[in-house]
């Protein structure tokens, strides 16, 4: 009975949707040459984008607020935010006006349909200026939509993003703030950050969860500098003041680490190392997917800044495994998602790119409401019941979750087997059946720290 319920438990854990990860947005599926690899653009040539020739923003009277020249310059600078990371090879190049519509100005649904068609065929990667929000409205969306990215075409076998589209809603920059007439306004910095976030998805990045306590504190628009510095631009929800207004670069260390990991250039290995391992259930054997793993730089007491908040990188366990392996019961999900590896050895695996230094590695659940469009990691519905825990060398299901052993990583080095055993998860095996499974050691050795007298006292009479 227990085994049956556990199987159901696991099935429910794994029923998700398409595979995402706190790192790459999508990974290749079983039909790929190499399943479980991030979908990325080819880095052998720059990603060429075309841009709308109309104004970026017009006001309700139809007057231009942000002209095309300014809009184009802005788009270039937003792509540059990602391209200028020194350890990445991804690059973007302006390829001229959008092709296929009169004058390159996308104004109507027919225009949008034409341009989307050419994107679907892989012919261009258009950046559309919806100057007054009319396209957003025509698409049945609402004035709250600042912008969106659409992946148009993927090569599932090679794991390549072949084309994508970006739409920027210029109504947010028209100088009019009147929610009663469905017209919202945000600052230029906030708008740029929102679109740069979208360009992160355009590049193949998923959301990341770091410094969640800042979000949980309700510090809307007034975030402290240390935690804001470490808060990824790819955090699911924008809630702080703009990074620029706080004197911070637009990208956080996690953003830079992951764009470099997906698109490493020749200097990557001289600037990054890797921490990897597994997350296991309390049995120390079964791998657990969907647990957020964060590597935090150990604070340097000689600086006024708190490096443990500022320098942190993360990923979600099982980020290379599918979030939806499928089931035949409902009749509409037999083979599950076409994304994500089916190799069970990857269910609890994680690896985090880190800059050289000394780190404390921690696990935590993904916030329960980070679902759907706000999801982080491979599971659309986050796993709950995970206790926050720091890694230490004597990991077990009964350890002190606050004890942290530092891990020092040098450039080009991979520190592997940094494996967690979750505390307090339900049993995975029927204890009345063959118990041999319990005798298998996990990938990292378990050493019980308590004196034997205590352990002996815990034995049944």
């Amino acid at each position: 009975m227990t085994r049956r319920v556990s199987a159901l438990f696991l099935t429910l854990l794994l029923i998700g949707g398409t595979t995402f990860a706190g790192g790459p947005l999508t990974v290749t599926g079983p039909s790929a040459t190499q399943p479980g690899q991030a979908f990325v653009w080819s880095s052998s040539v720059p990603v060429t984008y075309t841009v709308d020739t109309g104004p970026l923003s017009t006001n309700p009277s139809g007057q231009t607020v942000i002209a095309n020249t300014q809009g184009l310059a802005r788009v270039k600078s937003l792509f540059q935010n990602w391209q200028s990371v020194p350890t990445t090879s991804i690059s973007f190049v302006y390829g001229g006006p959008i092709a296929g519509v009169s004058g390159g100005d996308v104004k109507t649904m027919a225009d949008f349909n034409t341009v989307k068609g050419s994107c679907n065929s892989g012919a261009q990667n258009p950046v559309i200026f919806d100057a007054n929000g009319s396209l957003v409205s025509a698409l049945g969306l609402d004035p709250l939509v600042i912008g969106f990215t659409s992946t148009c075409k993927l090569d599932g076998q090679a794991g390549r993003i072949l084309s994508a589209l970006v739409l920027m809603n210029g109504k947010f920059q028209d100088g009019v703030s009147n929610p009663n007439s469905d017209n919202f306004e945000i600052s230029a910095d906030q708008f740029d950050e929102a679109i740069t976030h979208e360009l992160g998805h355009f590049s193949g990045l998923d959301h990341s969860q770091i410094n969640l306590d800042l979000f949980n504190s309700g510090a809307v628009g007034s975030c402290d500098t240390d935690r804001l510095a470490g808060l990824p631009l790819m955090f699911p929800i924008e809630f702080c003041q703009s990074r620029k207004s706080a004197g911070l670069p637009i990208l956080a260390p996690d953003d830079m680490a992951w764009i470099s990991k997906l698109y490493p250039n020749a200097t990557y290995s001289a600037n990054y190392g890797t921490i990897s391992g597994y997350v296991l259930f309390s049995d120390g054997i079964t791998q657990a997917q969907g647990v957020n793993v964060v590597a935090r730089r150990v604070d340097d007491p000689n600086t006024p800044a708190d490096e443990s908040k500022r320098i942190a990188m993360s990923v979600v366990s099982g980020f290379r495994f599918t979030g939806n392996p499928g089931q035949a019961i409902s009749g509409d999900n037999t083979n599950g998602s076409s994304f994500g590896s089916r190799n069970p050895a990857l269910i609890g695996y994680y690896e985090i790119p880190v800059t050289p230094g000394t780190y404390a590695v921690q696990i935590e659940p993904i916030r329960s409401d980070f679902t759907g469009g706000s999801s982080v990691g491979p599971l659309d519905q986050p796993v709950q019941g995970v206790v926050n825990e720091s890694w230490h060398q004597y990991e077990s299901a009964f350890d002190d979750t606050t004890q942290a052993d530092p891990i020092t990583v040098t450039a080009g080095q991979t520190v592997s087997n940094t494996t967690f055993i979750l505390n307090g998860t339900p049993p995975r095996f029927d204890i009345f059946e063959d118990g041999s499974a319990f005798l298998k050691p996990p990938r990292a050795p378990i050493v019980l720290r308590e004196p034997e007298s205590i352990a002996a006292a815990m034995e049944p009479a």
């Binding site: 709250l144 600042i146 659309d380």
Partner: protein
Amino acid sequence: MRLLRRRRKQTTLAKFHFKPALFLVLALVLFSSPFARAQRGAQTASADLSYLVQRAGTIVRGHVVSATVEPHPQFSNLQTVVVTISVARVLKGTAPATYTFRQYLLDARDVVDTGGYRKAGELLLLLNPVSQYGLTSPVGRDQGRFRIIRDRKGNATAINGRSNIGLFDQLPSKAADRGVNFSRQAQAMLARPANQAPLESLEDAIATLVGAQR
């Protein structure tokens, strides 16, 4: 030592084994996983309940009967999901007992999972007015799509894709300025943290806001 370790682990696991309450809690969390989820790929500004209600053309609660991906009939390059809801309650606008709407799918990956709409999922949807091209979507994306969670006692709560964050911010004072009077039940809900609002109270507040809009 190894035997000792084994026994100790078995003891602890057995302890969990005989704690059905703990397992039940975890199972409930999992069973409560909705069948619906929002689309990805869009950045949206936050709005409170008052705006979501004001903006919505139709507000319905019901179960997803079907969700089918198909191209837009007029614009064939645009993929859409056609969602049919078995309507239990209409809070704004008009909707038949079986209500169907068409939503544009932003991303190629949404095609794989029908935009997150799954059969049998119970939802409270605040839908934008249907555009001239027959398209609509929840107001504010994740914000206007509430999944309904029912516990063993039948108590229902509603939570949107942002965990209701910001949903009730300053709502009582803003409503009071407009002369909107919420019921005691709704006032009690508005005074508490917004995450997982009681469905009955939320619908009561929505009905009040709809009434004030007329």
